[in-house]
C-alpha cells in the first residue's frame, strides 16, 4: 500500500485553498485551525510513511506513488508521481515537522495582522510545494516544487506589500531564482537527451550502469555539464555565490517565514537536489570540486559579512548563507549523508534562532536593530535560554547538534577522495569560517541579551516574554538543537561512548550506495584516528576562541573597543559593512545595462529605425511623391504652357544635338 503518499502534499494544498478562498470571511480562529491542522496532518502522514518504510527490509525501502501521466510528447514522458526513500523521508519529516512548529508559532506572532488569512494560505502553499519538491519522483516534479516554493517565498517576502522595499525584495528573490532555474532547466534538457528520462529510477541506475559498462567515463563532459547546470539552480535557490544576494533582502518578510522558508527548508532544496543526484555528481569529480569550492568560499565570505551587521535578522541571514555553504561542502566532497545531517541540525538550530529573534522583535515593537537592544535576558528568559542553546549549537561546541554535523563535514572535506589537496584548502576555509561563525553569533547574543538596554523608554516599558504559542515551539526546537546531533555520532566518538551507532548515516546508506562504491575505488591516503581527533580538537578550540573574542570585544570592553576598531580599520569596516558592495556591483553590471539596452531597443530601433524609416518611411515617400506629382496638374494654363515650352526645348535640344 503505497498509494497514500500523495496525502502529504494534499493536506497543505487543501489548507491553502480553504484559507485562500474562505479564510477572509471565516475569521482568525478558523484560519489558524485549518492552517495548522493541514500541516499537522501532513506530518502525521509522514510519520505513518516512516513507520511503513522502516518496517520494510532495507533493500525494499523505496515507495513510489504515481498519480497520472503529466506530459507526453514523442519519447518524452513524465508522470506526476511521488517517491519516498530514506532521503526524501528525512527531508519530508523536517519539512512538515519544523513547518508544523512554525505554523503554531505564527498564531502568536501574526495575531494582530489584518491579512492573517492570506499569511496562512501562503504558508500552507509553501508546505505544499516543498513537499512536491522533496517527494517528486522525477526532476520535473521537483522543478514544480522548486519554482513553487519560489512563488510562495515571493508572496511571503512581499507579504506587507504596501512597503515598496518589501515588494522589491520579493521581486528580487523571484528573479534571481529564475536565473538559477534557467540553469536547472537546461540541466534537465541535457539530462533528458542524454539518459532519455527525467525519472530518478531511470536516470540513476542507467548512469551507474553506463559507467560500469564503460559507456560513460568518469568525469565525462556531458555529466559535468549536467551537474554544473543543476548546480546553477542550486546557487539560486540555496543562496550560494554568485546568486546569494536575494536571501539577505528576503528578511523583509515576517520572521516565521524567514525561519521556515529562508532558513530551515526551502533554501536547503539545493543541498537535497545534489544529494538526490549523488550518483551523477560522484561520476563528475570536476563538478564536485566546483561545488565544494564555491561552497567553501560562500561559507567564509558570508560569515565575514555577518560580523558587522546590526540588524538581528540580517546577521542570521548571512549566517544561513554561510551554513548552507557548509552543507554544500559536505555534498561537494561526496559526503552526501554529512550534508543532509547538517541540513537537519541546521533546520533545528536556525529555525530556533530565527523564531527567537522573532520573539525579540515582537518584544521590541518591530525594531530589529541590535544597537537598540541589550540586557534582554532578564526580561525574556525563555527566549534567552533557547537562543543561547541554538547559538552554542551553531558555534559547533559539543555535545550540541551543530558540532557533530559540522565536524563530520570538515573531516570529510579533509578526506576529499578526488582532490586531496583541494580538500585540505576547503577544510581550512571551513574551519576559519567556523571561528568567524562562533564570533558573530556570540556577538549577537551579547549585544541582544547582555549589558544595558539601549532602546527608548517606551520600548523598555513594553518588553515582555512572548506567549506560549511562541515559546513552546522555541523550547522544542532548542531541545532538538541540543540533542539532534546524536543521531549522527561519528564512529570515533561513538566507539569512545561505548558503541553508540550512527543512526542517520546507516539509515541513509542505501541511497548513496553506488556513489560510495565508486568513491571506494579511488586510491587515497587514509588518515587515522589521531588525525581525526586532532582536527576535531582544532575546530572546537577555534570555536571557543571565537566565543572568547566576542566576549572580549562586546562584553568586557564594550563599547569602547568596537568603536576604536571601527576607526582604526575604517576601510575594511566600510567594505564589510556594505557587504563588499556586491549589490551595487551587480546593479552596475547587470541591471543598469539591461535597462538602457531595453530603452535603446525601444526608442531607437523600434520607434526610429523600424517604424520610422522602415514603415512610415515608404508611406511618407508615397505621400510626398503624390504631392509632387499633383503639382504638375494644378489646372493653370500658364503652368501647362511653361511645361510645354520646357518639353519643346528639350526635344529641340535632343534633335539638334546630332
Amino acid at each position: 500500500m503505497e498509494h497514500y503518499i500523495y496525502f502529504i502534499p494534499l493536506f497543505p494544498l487543501l489548507g491553502f485553498l480553504l484559507n485562500g478562498i474562505l479564510g477572509k470571511r471565516l475569521g482568525k480562529s478558523f484560519v489558524s485551525c485549518v492552517g495548522c491542522t493541514s500541516v499537522g496532518l501532513a506530518f502525521v502522514t509522514a510519520l505513518f510513511v516512516f513507520k511503513d518504510l522502516i518496517g520494510r527490509p532495507v533493500e525494499d525501502r523505496i515507495m513510489v506513488d504515481t498519480l497520472w501521466t503529466w506530459m507526453a510528447a514523442g519519447a518524452f514522458k513524465v508522470d506526476v508521481s511521488f517517491l519516498v526513500d530514506q532521503l526524501s523521508m528525512v527531508m519530508i519529516l523536517i519539512v512538515t515537522g519544523v513547518g508544523f512548529l512554525i505554523h503554531i508559532y505564527s498564531i502568536g506572532y501574526m495575531h494582530e495582522d489584518e491579512s492573517y488569512w492570506r499569511y496562512f494560505a501562503y504558508l500552507n502553499m509553501f508546505v505544499f510545494f516543498m513537499s512536491l519538491l522533496v517527494l517528486g519522483a522525477n526532476y520535473l516534479v521537483m522543478f514544480v516544487g522548486w519554482e513553487g516554493v519560489g512563488l510562495a517565498s515571493y508572496l511571503l517576502i512581499g507579504f506587507w506589500y504596501e512597503g515598496n522595499e518589501n515588494a522589491d525584495a520579493g521581486k528580487k528573490a523571484f528573479i534571481v531564482n529564475r536565473i538559477g532555474d534557467f540553469g536547472f532547466a537546461l540541466g534537465m534538457f541535457l539530462m533528458f537527451w542524454t539518459f532519455g528520462s527525467l525519472s530518478y529510477l531511470d536516470v540513476f541506475p542507467k548512469a551507474f550502469e553506463m559507467y560500469e559498462h564503460g559507456h560513460l567515463a568518469l568525469n565525462a563532459p556531458v555529466l559535468v555539464a549536467i551537474c554544473l547546470l543543476l548546480f546553477v539552480g542550486a546557487t539560486g535557490k540555496s543562496a550560494q555565490i554568485p546568486l546569494y544576494v536575494w536571501l539577505p533582502d528576503a528578511m523583509a518578510g515576517p520572521t516565521p517565514v524567514s525561519a521556515l522558508i529562508h532558513a530551515a527548508t526551502m533554501v536547503t532544496a539545493g543541498v537535497y537536489m545534489v544529494a538526490r543526484s549523488n550518483i551523477l555528481y560522484t561520476l563528475a569529480p570536476t563538478a564536485c570540486l566546483v561545488v565544494a569550492y564555491i561552497a567553501a568560499a560562500t561559507a567564509l565570505f558570508a560569515a565575514t559579512i555577518g560580523i558587522l551587521q546590526n540588524d538581528i535578522k540580517k546577521v542570521l541571514a548571512y549566517s544561513t548563507v554561510s551554513q548552507l555553504g557548509y552543507m554544500f561542502i559536505g555534498v561537494g566532497v561526496t559526503a552526501y549523508w554529512a550534508g543532509i545531517f547538517h541540513l537537519m541540525t541546521h533546520a533545528f538550530f536556525k529555525a530556533c534562532l530565527f523564531l527567537c529573534s522573532g520573539s525579540v522583535i515582537h518584544a521590541m515593537g518591530g525594531d530589529q536593530d541590535m544597537r537598540h537592544m541589550g540586557g534582554l535576558a532578564k526580561k525574556m528568559p525563555i527566549t534567552y535560554i533557547t537562543m543561547l542553546v541554538a547559538t552554542i549549537a551553531i558555534a559547533g561546541i559539543p555535545p550540541f547538534a551543530g558540532f557533530f554535523s559540522k565536524d563530520e563535514i570538515l573531516w570529510k572535506a579533509f578526506n576529499f577522495p578526488y582532490y586531496p589537496v583541494s580538500g585540505k584548502i576547503i577544510w581550512f576555509m571551513g574551519t576559519l569560517g567556523a571561528a568567524v561563525t562562533a564570533f558573530y553569533m556570540f556577538r549577537l547574543i551579547f549585544l541582544t541579551f547582555h549589558g544595558e538596554f539601549r532602546g527608548t523608554e517606551e520600548q523598555k516599558h513594553h518588553l515582555h516574554e512572548s506567549p506560549y504559542f511562541m515559546t513552546v515551539p522555541l523550547m522544542i526546537l532548542a531541545a532538538l538543537s541540543f540533542c539532534g546531533g546524536w543521531l549522527g555520532i561519528s564512529p570515533l566518538i561513538g566507539h569512545a561512548l561505548g558503541g553508540v551507532p550512527n543512526y542517520l548515516e546507516h539509515f541513509l546508506e542505501p541511497v548513496f550506495e553506488h556513489s560510495q562504491e565508486i568513491v571506494a575505488t579511488i586510491p587515497r591516503v587514509e588518515y587515522g584516528h589521531g588525525m581525526e581527533i586532532a582536527l576535531m580538537t582544532t575546530s572546537v578550540v577555534v570555536a571557543i576562541i571565537g566565543v572568547l573574542l566576542a566576549f572580549h570585544v562586546y562584553i568586557r570592553r564594550f563599547p569602547e573597543l568596537p568603536a576604536r576598531l571601527r576607526e582604526q580599520y575604517a576601510v575594511y569596516y566600510d567594505l564589510i559593512y556594505n557587504k563588499y558592495y556586491v549589490d551595487e556591483i551587480y546593479f552596475r553590471i547587470f541591471v543598469w545595462p539591461t535597462y538602457y539596452l531595453a530603452i535603446f531597443f525601444w526608442k531607437i530601433i523600434d520607434v526610429i529605425i523600424i517604424d520610422g524609416i522602415g514603415v512610415n518611411g515608404p508611406a511618407w515617400l508615397t505621400q510626398r511623391g503624390a504631392y509632387v506629382f499633383s503639382r504638375v496638374q494644378n489646372g493653370q494654363v500658364q503652368t501647362y504652357g511653361a511645361f510645354m515650352l520646357l518639353g519643346l526645348v528639350g526635344i529641340l535640344w535632343y534633335l539638334l544635338r546630332f
Binding site: 497520472w68 503529466w70 507526453a72 518524452f76 512581499g158 515588494a167
Partner: protein, 527 residues
C-alpha cells in the same frame, strides 16, 4: 455519411447577424437585445463546436469531418473543409474566446453596438473558416475577410490614434497577403503544368514538385504574409499600435486568435507546401524567433503603458511558437501548438484584465496605478494567476508550452535553446515589475482609493480562463493527445532529408496525406 458539422460551426455566427440587422439600437433596451443575441449566438457556436470535439478521433491520421463540394469547377475551386490535430484546438479556442469577448464588451461598447456585434460575428466566421479551409481559394477568401471587421473594430471603436493604427494594420497585412496571392497563383500554375489538372486543393498541391529556386521564392512570399501576422521581428511594429488603439475586445481577438493565423499559416501552408524553401530559411527564422523573444521581452520591460507591455510580450511569446515549429522535433511542434493556445488564453486574459481597470479609470499608464491589491483583491488575485501563466510558472499552461518548446529546441539546436531560455528570465522581470508598480505599494493616486472590485459579469468571463490555465497546466496530455498523430505527419512532411536536399530535382516521395485517413506509411522518427 458526410457530416456538415464544420459548415455549421463556421457559418452559425452569420446566422446570428441576421436578426441583429433588424433590431433598432435606439435606447438601452435595443442595445441589450443585440448584445444578448450576439452572446447567445456565440455560445451556441461554442456548443456546436463541442460536437467537433466529440466526433474527433485523435488516432486517425489526415483530415476528419471533411466536406468536399465543387464550387467553381472550371478553376478547380472546391468548397473543402476539414480538421486535424493541428487545427483542432485552434478552432475550439476561437469558439471559446468569442463569447468571452462579447461578454466583456457589455459596458465597454456603448456606441454603434449593432455594427460592433456584426463585425465580431463576421470575424468569427472568417477565423473559423481560415482554420478549416483546405482549398487555397477558400482559404484566401476567409483570410482576407478577417481583415475588414478587424479594421473596423480598430478604426471605429478604437482610441485616439485609431485611424493611424487601423490603416497601419490593414496596409501591413495586405502587403504580405498580396505577395502571397501572386505566389499562390504561381503554385497553382506549376501544379497545372505538372499534372494537367487545375486545382486549389491543398492536399493535391502538397505533392507539387517545384524547382528549388521557386520553392524558396514562394516560401519567402508565403512566409512574409504569415510572419507579419505572427508578428515576427522586425515586422512587428503594427502590433503595439493596433493593440493600444483597439478596444479591449479587439485586442483580445487580435492577440488571442488573429496572431495564431500567422503561426497556423506556417504550420498548414508555408512549411508543408515548400519544405525545401522552409529548410533554406530555417536558420533565418530561428534567429529571428530568438531575437523576437529577447527583443520583445526587453522592449516590453520599459513600456509605460500596460497594453503596450502586453503587446510586446506577445512578440516574445510568439517567438517561442515559431522556434518550436522550426526545430521540427515532436516536443517542439506540440509545444508550439500548445503555446498558441496558451498565448490565446493568458494574453487574452491579460487584455481583458487591463480592460477592466481601463473601464474604471480610462487610463492604461502603469504610473497612474499603484497599491491596487488593497483596493481590488479579487482582481489582483486573478491578475497574479494570469501573470504566472504568462511567465511560465509550473502548474500553469505557460510552463508546459515553454518547457516542451525548449526541450525540443535543445535537441535540434543547443545554442538556440539556451538563448531562448533567457526569455524565461526576462519574462519574469517585465511582468513582475509591472505587477509591483500596479498592485503593490501604497495607493498614491486618490482616484484609485475606491475602485470597485470585479463584478459578477467580469468574474464570469475571467473565471473560465483561469480554469483553463490550470487545466492545461495540470493535464496537458488531454490537449497534447489530440495532436500526436497529426504532428507526426506534419514533421515527416516537412523534414527534408539532408541528402535529397542537394538533389532537389530528384523525385523523392512526399507524404500523401489522404483526407480519407489512410495511414501514411512513413517511418516516424522516434524522438
Amino acid at each position: 455519411m458526410d457530416s456538415l458539422i464544420l459548415t455549421y460551426t463556421t457559418f452559425l455566427p452569420l446566422l446570428g447577424v441576421l436578426p441583429i440587422l433588424f433590431i433598432p439600437q435606439k435606447g438601452e433596451g435595443g442595445k441589450n437585445v443585440i448584445r444578448w443575441i450576439a452572446l447567445v449566438t456565440s455560445i451556441l457556436v461554442f456548443l456546436v463546436s463541442l460536437r467537433i470535439y466529440a466526433m474527433f478521433d485523435p488516432g486517425k491520421a489526415g483530415f476528419q469531418m471533411v466536406e468536399f463540394k465543387p464550387w467553381i469547377s472550371r478553376l478547380g475551386v472546391h468548397y473543402f473543409l476539414g480538421i486535424d490535430g493541428l487545427s483542432f484546438w485552434l478552432v475550439l479556442l476561437t469558439t471559446f474566446i468569442t463569447p468571452v469577448t462579447i461578454l466583456s464588451t457589455w459596458r465597454a461598447i456603448e456606441k454603434r453596438v449593432k455594427e460592433f456585434m456584426v463585425a465580431l460575428l463576421v470575424l468569427e466566421t472568417a477565423m473559423i473558416g481560415t482554420f478549416l479551409a483546405l482549398d487555397l481559394f477558400l482559404f484566401y477568401i476567409f483570410w482576407e475577410l478577417m481583415l475588414i471587421p478587424m479594421y473596423l473594430i480598430i478604426g471605429v471603436w478604437g482610441g485616439e490614434r485609431r485611424i493611424y493604427a487601423a490603416i497601419k494594420f490593414f496596409l501591413y497585412t495586405a502587403v504580405g497577403s498580396l505577395l502571397m496571392l501572386v505566389c499562390l497563383i504561381g503554385l497553382i500554375w506549376f501544379h497545372y503544368e505538372q499534372s494537367g489538372t487545375l486545382t486549389f486543393n491543398l492536399l493535391e498541391l502538397y505533392n507539387t514538385h517545384l524547382p528549388r529556386l521557386y520553392e524558396i521564392l514562394f516560401f519567402a512570399a508565403f512566409a512574409l504574409a504569415f510572419a507579419i501576422k505572427v508578428p515576427m521581428f522586425p515586422l512587428h511594429t503594427w502590433l503595439p499600435d493596433a493593440h493600444v488603439e483597439a478596444p479591449t475586445a479587439g485586442s483580445v481577438i487580435l492577440a488571442g486568435i488573429l496572431l495564431k493565423m500567422g503561426t497556423y499559416g506556417f504550420l498548414r501552408f508555408a512549411m508543408p507546401l515548400f519544405p525545401q524553401g522552409s529548410a533554406f530559411f530555417t536558420p533565418t527564422i530561428i534567429a529571428l524567433s530568438i531575437i523576437g523573444i529577447i527583443y520583445g521581452a526587453l522592449v516590453a520591460m520599459v513600456q509605460p503603458d500596460i497594453k503596450k507591455l502586453v503587446a510586446y510580450s506577445s512578440v516574445s511569446h510568439l517567438g517561442y511558437c515559431m522556434l518550436g515549429l522550426y526545430v521540427l522535433t515532436k516536443q517542439g511542434v506540440e509545444g508550439s501548438i500548445l503555446q498558441m493556445i496558451n498565448h490565446g488564453i493568458s494574453t487574452g486574459a491579460l487584455f481583458l484584465l487591463v480592460g477592466v481597470v481601463y473601464e474604471r479609470r480610462h487610463t492604461r499608464l502603469i504610473s497612474e496605478y499603484g497599491g491596487i491589491a488593497k483596493v481590488m483583491p479579487l482582481y489582483s488575485t486573478i491578475f497574479l494567476i494570469v501573470t504566472l501563466s504568462s511567465i511560465g510558472f509550473p502548474t500553469t499552461n505557460g510552463f508546459i508550452g515553454e518547457f516542451l518548446i525548449l526541450l525540443g529546441a535543445f535537441k535540434a539546436n543547443k545554442a538556440a535553446a539556451v538563448l531562448a531560455a533567457t526569455g524565461v528570465v526576462l519574462g519574469a522581470v517585465y511582468m513582475l515589475w509591472m505587477v509591483q508598480r500596479v498592485f503593490y505599494g501604497k495607493v498614491t493616486n486618490p482616484k484609485n482609493l475606491h475602485l470597485p472590485d470585479l463584478n459578477l459579469r467580469e468574474f464570469a468571463y475571467l473565471a473560465p480562463l483561469v480554469v483553463l490555465i490550470f487545466w492545461i497546466g495540470l493535464f496537458p496530455n488531454f490537449f497534447l493527445g489530440k495532436m500526436h498523430t497529426s504532428v507526426d505527419t506534419f514533421i515527416s512532411q516537412v523534414k527534408v532529408p539532408c541528402k535529397t536536399m542537394a538533389a532537389s530535382n530528384e523525385m523523392h516521395p512526399r507524404v500523401p496525406v489522404g483526407y480519407h485517413g489512410h495511414k501514411s506509411n512513413l517511418e516516424h522518427s522516434e524522438e
